[in-house]
């Protein structure tokens, strides 16, 4: 097709959708050497060759360089198929900076400081998010994006000072004047109680002695206590969440910290703290028991919500601009933001969180107002015992909707402001559910020419896109990948409403195809068909495990993680392959619990 250009002064109608977020992509990318983790990003030069010998380290450093992404995923799928893993799998020691939110949570819950995010808004480093052009969803805690720098450290030091001043003013007098003797004895008692939760390690006489000496040297008074607190908060033990496994396996505190973080989105407190202090999380059976217990706790909602919001990029609906006539109330927006989290948590609590449950359920979860907006009848009340809040209802999905990839909140979030944006939707779904992504094509100028093709308003959006994409070999091969997914979703408009006419006001054409990493094509029709296709896809099972792996381990996977991921899928499959069985399997896999030691 010949590109048609228009005078800029005339109102123009051209293909706008391809370029918004997805034109700059192709299916295959020339392999780029990944940077080793310990190197600063190369400036003004080619990315250096990977000098690490361990394939486990050969992963993107900052997430922008994701050229190994598809290769890694294909290797992991192969590992799942081959069942050819060694008897003993050990993970690498790892550590990451705590996020801004975790900093505040820990201070609030451990020190009882009652800080709010606003009071530290400009004193703490920003909450990090992956760049929007990388396929790693919104995990804001990935070590790939959270790096220490002098700028961050300066922020921490100033925040520590402000916090210490607050604690000195509000609590220090009480702490150092306890009824247990001298100020030193009182502070020793405080350290025994608080330091393990702050440093995520067992109480240690050496640590305590050093801090007490510092307290005494600093005056053994309230100000000395403040300085000691600053020192505690500047330590790597506080600023990092570590899974070092220095003895060859994670310590009880490291396990507890990981469980609290991923399952409850919280620091280690209460019974879990007691268990960690008693070194009660060493044996695999103990860990499995604890994971099961924590999944049953209502606090698991927080973990599910954090995971789903990151996995499915729920912030897109937070920042989505609706046209004036379709503007959503704040309440409706809030319902849509949390819809997928609420849905998945409901499935978990009602033992329906199998793959089929996720994609074939004909209901969603929301309040009555949301049901009215989308014309979903109320199917039933949700018992308060499930812990989902008083006003939420089980809403019946109507028309051809079924499953997660038909929910109005998710669909609106991955659409453009005014249009469905077929390739953008396809790109999102392929990245989030199939762990496949595209990179910049070698000849972008040519691609842009195709993208500037004048739209034919007499054709349906899907047909028109198909025709234009196929007109160029440069675009066609890659767009098949994302268009095929996006086409089937045309039944749902950019605001999440079901429809029979597309953005060209032509009857919706909703035939699509889902392409797996091995090239297998699964044809389908409509959103229901796509959900069925997804439920039958082996790639989805692997991808969901990969997404949970990223969330739990706070890093992007590498090919070397294939055995941990495949082992977890096998173990979860033995229990019926549910969301919770996968979650549990990853947290109790030997690749997670066992870590290589120095020299290994």
């Amino acid at each position: 097709m010949t590109a048609t250009k228009q005078s800029w002064l005339k109102p123009s109608i051209v293909i706008t959708l391809i370029l918004i977020g997805t034109l700059s992509t192709q299916c295959t990318s020339p392999p780029n050497p990944a940077r080793p983790n310990n190197k600063k990003p190369a400036q003004g030069a080619e990315v250096p060759n990977d000098t690490e010998t361990d394939a486990q380290d050969a992963m993107p450093n900052d997430g922008s360089d994701f050229s190994h992404h598809n290769e890694n995923f294909a290797a992991i799928v192969k590992a799942v198929d081959s069942n050819n893993c060694p008897a003993e799998v050990k993970g690498k020691p790892q550590s990451r900076i705590i996020t801004r939110k975790e900093w505040i949570q820990t201070i609030n819950e451990v020190l009882g400081a009652n800080l709010n995010a606003e009071s530290f808004e400009t004193n703490l480093p920003p909450q990090t998010q992956p760049p929007s052009n990388v396929p790693y969803s919104d995990y804001d805690h990935l070590q790939n994006y959270n790096k220490m720098s002098i700028e961050r450290l300066l922020k921490y030091t100033s925040a520590n000072k402000i916090l210490a001043d607050q604690i000195v003013a509000s609590q220090a007098e009480k702490i150092i004047s306890c009824n247990d003797g001298s100020a030193k004895a009182c502070v020793a008692k405080w350290l025994n109680d608080k330091l393990p939760a702050l440093w995520k390690k067992p109480s240690n006489p050496e640590d305590n002695a050093a801090l007490l000496a510092f307290f005494e040297k600093s005056g053994a008074n309230k100000l000395g206590f403040g300085l000691m607190l600053e020192r505690i908060l500047l330590s790597h033990n506080f600023l990092y969440r570590s899974n070092l496994g220095l003895s060859g396996q994670l310590s009880s505190w490291e396990v507890a910290s990981s469980l609290a973080d991923s399952l409850w989105d919280s620091p280690v407190t209460g019974e879990l703290k007691d268990l960690a202090n008693a070194d009660g999380l060493r044996a695999k059976a103990d860990i499995e028991r604890q994971v099961a217990k924590m999944i049953e706790d209502p606090k698991f909602y927080r973990g599910v919500q954090r995971f789903v919001k990151a996995w499915l990029k729920s912030r897109l609906i937070e920042s989505k601009t609706f046209s004036t006539e379709k503007k959503l109330s704040d309440e409706a927006r809030s319902q849509l933001i949390n819809e997928s989290s609420n849905y998945l948590y409901y499935l978990i609590r009602t033992k329906q969180d199998s793959i089929d449950g996720i994609f074939k359920s004909k209901f969603t979860v929301g309040n009555e107002a949301m049901g009215n907006i989308f014309k979903f009848p109320i199917e039933g009340l949700i018992p308060s015992s499930l812990g989902l809040g008083a006003n939420l209802k089980k809403l019946e999905l109507t028309d051809g909707r079924q499953g997660l990839i038909s929910q109005p909140g998710y669909m609106a979030g991955i659409s453009s402001m005014m249009t469905t944006n077929i390739p953008r939707r396809g790109e999102a779904i392929m990245a989030e559910f199939m762990c496949q992504s595209l990179t910049t094509p070698p000849n972008l100028a040519e691609a842009i020419k195709v993208a500037n093709t004048q739209i034919d308003p007499n054709d349906s959006v899907a047909h028109f896109f198909d025709k234009v994409s196929k007109s160029s070999p440069l675009c066609g091969g890659c767009h098949e990948f994302v268009n095929g997914v996006g086409f089937g979703l045309e039944e749902i408009g950019s605001t999440g409403q079901f429809r029979s006419l597309d953005d060209h006001m032509k009857p919706v054409v909703a035939d699509g195809v889902l392409i797996e990493s091995n090239g297998r094509k699964i044809p389908y029709s409509g959103v229901g068909g796509l959900n069925n296709a997804m439920a039958s896809s082996k790639d989805f099972q692997v991808c969901l495990t990969v997404q949970l792996f990223r969330y739990i381990n706070a890093r992007v996977e590498s090919a070397a993680d294939g055995c941990t991921i495949s082992g977890s899928i096998r173990k979860a499959s033995a229990k019926g392959l549910t969301f919770t069985s996968l979650f549990s399997a990853l947290l109790t896999d030997q690749g997670f619990i066992n870590r290589r030691t120095a020299g290994e």
Partner: protein
């Protein structure tokens, strides 16, 4: 100290917005106006490029006071966005860096200066902090103010108290007593990690840098260039978010002016949004040329008004400071047609101010095939008097643009 500005003359420098008026009340309480002499850089950006060189120059020329235009205006043609091979989309995190290709998040050029910086963005893009332009020394996102009220409360509500040298030394000594044991702790863990010891390397590097800076502060307790006077902003104006993106951009430029005049920060970036900001990115792909031209033109006009303000006080701030207007995108108007893609050629580059001798030319100049890293190298050299450590950013071999 230079004389304080009169109320009547100061009113001339302010825009008409209510927020500028609120800021002005704070200004009357400060002693700083006209008293500063340190080099300050204000980088103003709008995403998605510009119309073309001529349109941009015309927009500035129509707004700049003739004296400012002739004395300080420099319009650089042919500058390349060196971090964008063919496409700048999603490459915000590399744009202000010395990187010559790729979109990876990379340290901004100013991170090597170790100066206080502050960053504003009028629009919350889809990329949020993940798509921030300003990057720290390891490529991490820097804080971005998106709400003027928060910015004003933070900046003008900040308590800046004078510390005498002996007290300052004691404070620094206290800081050292916090840093030193942390260094020992992390070195001890590293020794147990064998080949994995790199896990904490960035923390170790940052602690060592903090240690160095703290030690340096002991010899120069107030931490500021000699001859400058710290600003004391006595009260915090009540400012609210105007809601509208264009108004917010104006407000941030007003705040940038106050910060520069008060000598509160040395590096200020003001972005309209990132290039994922849907409504504006959509103007290029949607072929909404008129809307795009109005939007970029309005940004440029407002930046020119800022330049007029900077030059109009008792102290001409543009001698020691500069406004640099750039965008990651190239020219969209070519041969009377509107490019709806992601053109990379001829990104806008307007420099207004001398930045203490960093920039010597005026009028129309050429980048002569140079790219953004060359521009940044010139700025870094100028602001640091050639003393910046460029080795970690691998910028030693990058030559200044020469404009």
């Amino acid at each position: 100290m230079s004389p304080k500005i009169s109320r009547r003359s100061f009113n001339r420098y302010l825009s008409n917005s209510m927020i500028a008026a609120a800021l002005s009340r704070v200004f009357y309480d400060t002693q700083a106006f006209g008293a500063v002499s340190t080099k300050k850089l204000i980088i103003c950006m709008n995403p998605n490029g510009h119309a073309n060189f001529d349109t941009t120059q015309s927009n500035f020329k129509n707004t700049l006071n003739p004296a400012v235009y002739s004395k300080y205006g420099q319009f650089v043609s042919g500058l390349k966005n060196a971090s964008a091979d063919q496409d700048w989309h999603g490459g915000e995190g590399a744009f202000l860096s010395f990187a010559t290709r790729g979109k990876s998040n990379t340290p901004s050029f100013f991170s090597t200066l170790g100066l206080e910086s502050i960053h504003f963005s009028a629009v919350s893009g889809n990329g949020s902090n993940g798509s921030a332009y300003g990057r720290d020394s390891t490529g991490g996102a820097l804080d971005i103010f998106r709400n003027p009220a928060t910015a004003v409360n933070t900046i003008f509500g900040k308590s800046m108290t004078s510390v005498n040298p002996s007290d300052a030394a004691a404070i620094q000594a206290g800081k050292m007593s916090l840093i030193d044991p942390c260094l020992e702790d992390v070195k001890s863990v590293q020794n147990k990690l064998g080949s994995d010891k790199v896990i904490f390397q960035e923390y170790l590097d940052s602690l060592i840098e903090l240690q160095k800076r703290t030690q340096a502060m002991n010899s120069n307790p107030d931490g500021r260039a000699s001859g400058s006077t710290p600003a004391f902003c006595g009260s915090t104006p009540k400012v609210s978010d105007p809601g509208d993106n264009h108004e917010r951009y104006k407000v941030f430029l007003d705040i940038a002016y106050q910060i520069a005049a008060c000598d509160m920060m040395r590096i200020i970036t003001v972005a309209f949004g990132d290039n994922h900001s849907e409504g504006y990115h959509g103007t290029i792909h949607g072929g909404r040329a008129q809307e795009y031209l109005q939007w970029t033109g309005a940004c440029q006009t407002r930046i020119a008004q800022l330049a007029n303000q900077m030059a109009s006080g008792p102290t001409d701030l543009l001698q020691d400071s500069a406004i640099v207007y750039i965008s990651e995108g190239g020219a969209h108007m070519k041969d009377g047609r509107f490019d709806q893609g992601h053109p990379t050629a001829d990104i806008p580059c307007v420099i207004i101010g001398k930045l203490g001798g960093t920039f010597s030319k005026t009028g129309n100049t050429s980048a002569n095939g140079g790219g953004t890293p060359n521009l940044y190298r010139q700025i870094v050299d100028g602001m640091s008097n050639g003393s910046a450590d460029l080795s970690t950013l691998q910028a030693k071999n990058i030559t200044p643009l020469g404009v």
